[in-house]
């Protein structure tokens, strides 16, 4: 899970491998804040699978790539 200067850099780094998913830094920040914001809460409880899937769905990450097991 890396950062890149541009799409050109992503494609060069892939070097023929099948691509995963590319997001803008803005979308990544939205995802990170939705995913991690409760991590240091004193009443933190483990996320269940459906909670995490709902976070992905709320950000429009709904294709097969983003389907949790």
């Amino acid at each position: 899970m890396n950062l890149f200067r541009s799409e050109e850099h992503v494609l060069r780094w892939l070097d023929g491998r099948e691509p995963g998913a590319t997001l803008s830094a803005t979308k990544l920040s939205e995802l990170a804040h939705a995913w991690w914001s409760d991590r240091l809460d004193t009443d933190w409880q483990p996320h269940v699978r459906d909670q995490n899937q709902a976070i992905l769905t709320s950000l429009g990450l709904t294709d097969d790539f983003w389907q949790l097991p």
Partner: protein
């Protein structure tokens, strides 16, 4: 993983944040008023539940996501302190977990050119940057270090 494990997990995280580095099981034992053996057993249950990650075959902390116990290509500065993150997602996640603005230092994974990105009010200063996730969500925990 039970409520006591969650309490051990919370102590682990707060020591990690306060110190800017991973605590040992002895550190957590002292802070939690438990034995090191109890902490090791609790960490193993937390590892099995994907709440933390231990180094393979050891009882040493590797990840308390989004924080990394080992030096990585993702350094996050916030509130006068610094931590390593496990990946780009986690680098943004450290600011999210702390609920503060911060600065991420990393490199483009392709060309190694330095990248500095400020996070202010949950938004990146450089919106032209791209994030690539190679492993599909269904396989993230098959090898979380690679992911």
């Amino acid at each position: 993983m039970d409520e006591r494990d969650v309490a051990v997990r919370n102590v682990t995280y707060h020591l990690f944040v306060d110190r800017g580095r991973a605590p040992t099981n002895a550190d957590v034992a002292t802070a939690a008023g438990a034995s090191a053996d109890e902490i090791r057993a609790s960490w193993r249950r937390l590892h099995d539940a994907h709440a933390i990650v231990l180094h393979p075959g050891t009882s040493e902390l590797r990840m308390a996501n989004p924080f990394s116990a080992v030096a990585s290509a993702f350094r996050v500065h916030a509130g006068g302190r610094s931590w390593y993150a496990n990946c780009a997602w986690d680098a943004f996640g450290i600011c999210a977990a702390l609920h503060v603005d911060g600065r991420i230092e990393t490199v483009c994974a392709d060309c190694d050119e330095a990248i500095e990105c400020e996070i202010r009010a949950a938004r990146p200063s450089d919106e032209s940057l791209l994030f690539h996730c190679l492993v599909p969500a269904s396989a993230w925990w098959d090898d979380i270090v690679f992911t």
